[in-house]
Symmetry: D2
Subunit: 373 residues, 4 copies
């Protein structure tokens, strides 16, 4: 309702600003019994922390997470899991002049208007990308929950600065071991060149991230409004810098025909996956395939036109220490949001277990009984 | 939560199947005092009803709506607005064999798995596109509510079967008077040819719809998770057949640079609108620009491979009376979902009025005080 | 959120006014496969319909329910169950003058203030007790859902006009076959006298209703805020005319001591049930015991002081056809709300089944494994 | 949904266990611009902290709160307000044996059953009354928000161990300056005697708390299900140890008659307040009056019968340092929950401002226009 909570049964509420005490969250609704430690969260946070790879800022933060509740003797207890990541290495003075002017491409203007002229301008305050650390920490729990059902979510950068990894060359499961969390090692040198070029120009780059989830069983998602793809779109579009989301063939499907786009069913499974694993808003049992369009970082190393709080013309040269692209750090964030959405769908679908078996009609169709897909 | 409710303060809950008693919904949370009649809903429903334009089915339904509550002496009373659209002209016999097999590209398989093998197979049951009539009826109320604030939502088809209206030729405000609800009259003859070609081939077409909202004030949207674009993506992706959503430059922004993609602020307003009216998830006061990718209709006039309830190979030739493309009938549906999302954001933002003026700090910045944007 | 929806996973949204087209609702989230017919709803509605027993109005309505969606071939499909009860036998002229004045003890004044002076004054409009028919219809589904788990909810009047059935004489399971839905046949003649006396005086009576639920397993309820008793209190206090709710010993517990009030655990079960089946907000496996205080009907047959829309003094003699007490018709309403709350808790608790058995620690304690309580 | 979030627009999510790192919460949805400091929260926390008055435990904790986000330069920013209260002075060894047995009257058994046998048994873990500190901290913000509208919430103990303060002697506004937070200084010596008696017997006491809210304008509350009294009942019954809630005359109203119970309207206001300020679930503009029945503390200083994890008979002598009554420490908790509920209703009602004035019908009735009540 108030915007800082995500999910229906598995619910994440987050807080924190770039230059305040820290950031964190409360994950409510996780079943009891899941083995969980701070190291599990830290593993994912380390993939997102400042200073990752060739597009990185020089800002360094250890992003050390502390679990405050909900875990006892190494397992979740079913009560809220709170966690906190203290801010470090803040240089608020870099942002001093930003109290007076609005950075183009940032949320400054919107926050100013929304919140009656009141805002924590330091580093973007609540609108800082730093907020996503809390998503990644919670996403680690969601990933563990999904793993108990053998479900795995992968993500990788498939395009940077206009240079794409061809679909047939994409390999996601090892992406976090590659520079840029790229979907292919072969693209790295070309991306290096593109990044060097942009850095020289004082400019920034956008890209595309692909996310895939394997072993999601058929039947997840809640029509009519909370279709699985609708919830995933909400999750991904809610990450700063994301300007587009597509499922399966996505925008290319708009140019296809029904005969080419339909995925035939066979006794061995679907014969193709143009749908990206979601049909009519419900998981089909195939791999779920998503892509998110990421705009270039708005903080460029050039002077830009803007206005000040009084509406007068001004210029701004954004200081601070900024990445040259949201890629690669946004990759674990988008993976986390996908995992949180799927784990929530898992728990919601569990309500179907509520009707005792002997109440259901018999005999049940083989395709359902075997669960072969 | 359970999937058939949309919105937070302005909440729409819908029901109904293609071949049951009818479809309808309850719109809760509309303020008292809004002038409203059945004719207002009917106007929008008529834009969506079967038999619209060159891609149409021969199925005819009047889709007559009846308001059951919440309106007294021509105005809303603040209590739930219930409405019902009776089903007519059903020919369930067209769907008899669909109890046994799953139509490729449809939700049949997902519903079968999700709901324990139980489903109303006639015409897709709850998963039928007919469900969207309830969205359009409620959307009419949302449009009226927005109109009291001079906010207007337009929508048009900008691409069909791979043939696009160039961005500079798009004109949305008159689209509902054109064939295909097209963004330009100039494209119609080429789309006619493309449709004739597909009909001859027993095939179907997809396309792209653009939606624009004017006069949305700055400050709407709830970070971090319920950003305005996240909620809009949820709304649009939750419409059957939509496989992608983008805001402003969308996927093209992923190929741009920060210097080109940032929209400079000037005393006269933003100098460009690459962001599509939403920055950091909050409306900027500029026009909101969205596009949705619509896949081809899954019901093609050809025999297709599939499986039956027992998992055995089968073929299916989908009978019934189907459109050749979701365009144009999906256009008013996407407009309705956008209007519902914005009206909900309007009501949610109203809570900011909750703090008395004299509690707020003074003096207030001119840019905010003037509300000039 | 907007007030006309109840529940979290099993969600009921209702609509309708006393003198409009009718009343009804949408029940979303019911699992697929539950046998359900209109007769199931009608059975419960008949217990609540006008003209029940010695305190009844002369207004007669058949309250015939029609299911509009969500049921196919005699079973729920997992999609929204919509139902409608048309209004009949309306005599709006009885209420003509009520547009100008506010009836004491009614919601008239509150609706007038809340909804900007706009309201359907006929028979109370949305604030009419008639609204509860939708709760009873949906409650019938909840009762069926609970019955598949052998859970049964009973309710009875235990006090009327100050005359109580002693606790040790209360028998709830047969109450609907007795006048006043009384907890004992022995009290009926004394209640008859009390009612005759009040009728002669042009006055009305209040009373107390007791509700009990058997076989609720231990573990339902969601601390900290959505404790099972908190949700039940919300459910019961949300019924018009209810001014108090208590669980187990309730207000009497406030006068007890810890040593007397604690319920000892023994291998055969709890040794007493002062807690009313709920400890720390979680069901204990014992019988759940609730009581609701019902105020006297506000529409008395006497002239009363009030004000008109302009704030001037006025008098009102409430016409229309009114019951002399909310008892007995409120009894099935309170049973329905209890059933809806418990069925929702059942579906929510089912999420705990989400973690595969082999992930949980072993060995498990015997008290849990045996499920003997 | 998942139980640890309260409210709809103003939403509090809490976490923490008695013997973990600490307790805290996130308050989301507070408007920007409210002056707020840690001292504001601390003031209320100090009223609740261990060691208050004659019924107190010897456990001492400073309950020092730290605000982690959402406040900038002394005012709220509209973003989530997170706060943390570190645990101190824990003596977990007092609770060692409680891992094996269930304390009668506590949530131990329910948590054990609900959460698959997993629980933090130390001091009750999440079910400890210590959880309510987070409610009090957030309630302080709600009280400040209400204060900007001149709304004040008072609370006091009106009964302890069966000894009541007569209604006509109750004075709430100064209660926090009296022992037991009593509604009258005159009762204190009798309560002292009753407490001494119970302490000698190794027993504990219950009581009744009254809460009153002044200056709540007419029109708050959301029928049909989220009536203002329904939400308040939810709020109060959700506090551990509360077994009953009543509004206005409450259970006494069940024994009254319509002619005596109705509150006549006059040009000077209502002539009486049997309704307790809420009619038909909507605030009437009169003082809101609530009472909560508080059971005796379950941890008595005597050996009690119980069972162990294997279901075998056992005895338990609860160690640790426990209060003799939840009174007085529960008084600020119930005040906080009332304030949170009312502040949420305030923000929700603010949505009514969403329709521009010139859209509403004219002329408007004087009773509404003057806002004289």
């Amino acid at each position: 309702m108030s915007g800082n909570t995500f999910g229906r049964v598995l619910r994440l509420t987050t807080y924190g600003e770039s230059h305040g005490a820290g950031i964190g969250g409360i994950l409510d609704g996780c079943p009891a019994g899941l083995p969980l430690s701070e190291a599990d969260m830290q593993h994912d946070l380390d993939l997102r922390k400042p200073g990752q790879g060739p597009t990185a800022t020089t800002r360094k933060e250890s992003d050390t997470v502390r679990i405050l509740s909900g875990v006892f003797e190494g397992r979740t207890t079913g009560t809220p899991i709170a966690f906190h990541i203290a801010n470090e290495n803040q240089r608020s003075q870099d942002y001093g002049n930003l109290a007076e002017v609005f950075r183009p491409g940032h949320a400054d203007w919107g926050f100013f208007q929304k919140f009656q002229g009141l805002r924590d301008h330091r580093g973007g305050g609540r609108s800082s990308g730093r907020e996503t650390a809390a998503r990644v920490a919670a996403g680690a729990v969601a990933r563990l929950l999904l793993a108990t059902h053998d479900i795995r979510v992968d993500a990788a950068a498939v395009e940077l600065g206009g240079i794409a990894v061809p679909p047939e060359e994409r390999e996601l499961s090892e992406a976090f071991s590659r520079p840029y969390y790229a979907a292919s090692a072969a693209v790295v040198s070309r991306w290096d060149e593109r990044v060097a070029e942009a850095r020289k120009a004082g400019d920034t780059l956008g890209g595309i991230v692909e996310i895939r989830a394997r072993n999601v069983p058929p039947g997840w998602g809640e029509p009519a409004f909370d279709k699985l793809d609708a919830c995933l779109a909400h999750a991904l579009m809610g990450v700063g810098a994301v300007k587009g989301v597509e499922v399966g063939d996505g925008f290319a499907a708009a140019r296809s025909t029904g005969s080419a786009n339909n995925d035939p069913l066979t006794p061995e499974g679907f014969a193709s996956n143009h749908a990206g694993g979601i049909l009519g808003g419900i998981s089909s049992g195939q791999e779920i395939v998503l892509r998110a369009a990421v705009k270039p970082i708005a903080s460029i190393a050039r002077e830009q036109r803007t206005i000040d709080r009084e509406g007068r013309p001004a210029t701004v040269l954004v200081g601070g220490r900024h990445d040259l692209s949201a890629i690669p750090r946004i990759v674990p964030v988008l993976r986390a949001m996908t995992a949180l959405t799927l784990a929530d769908a898992l728990l919601l679908q569990a309500r179907m277990a509520a009707l005792p078996e002997d109440v259901l009609p018999r005999p049940r169709p083989a395709a359902l009984r075997d669960g072969r897909w």
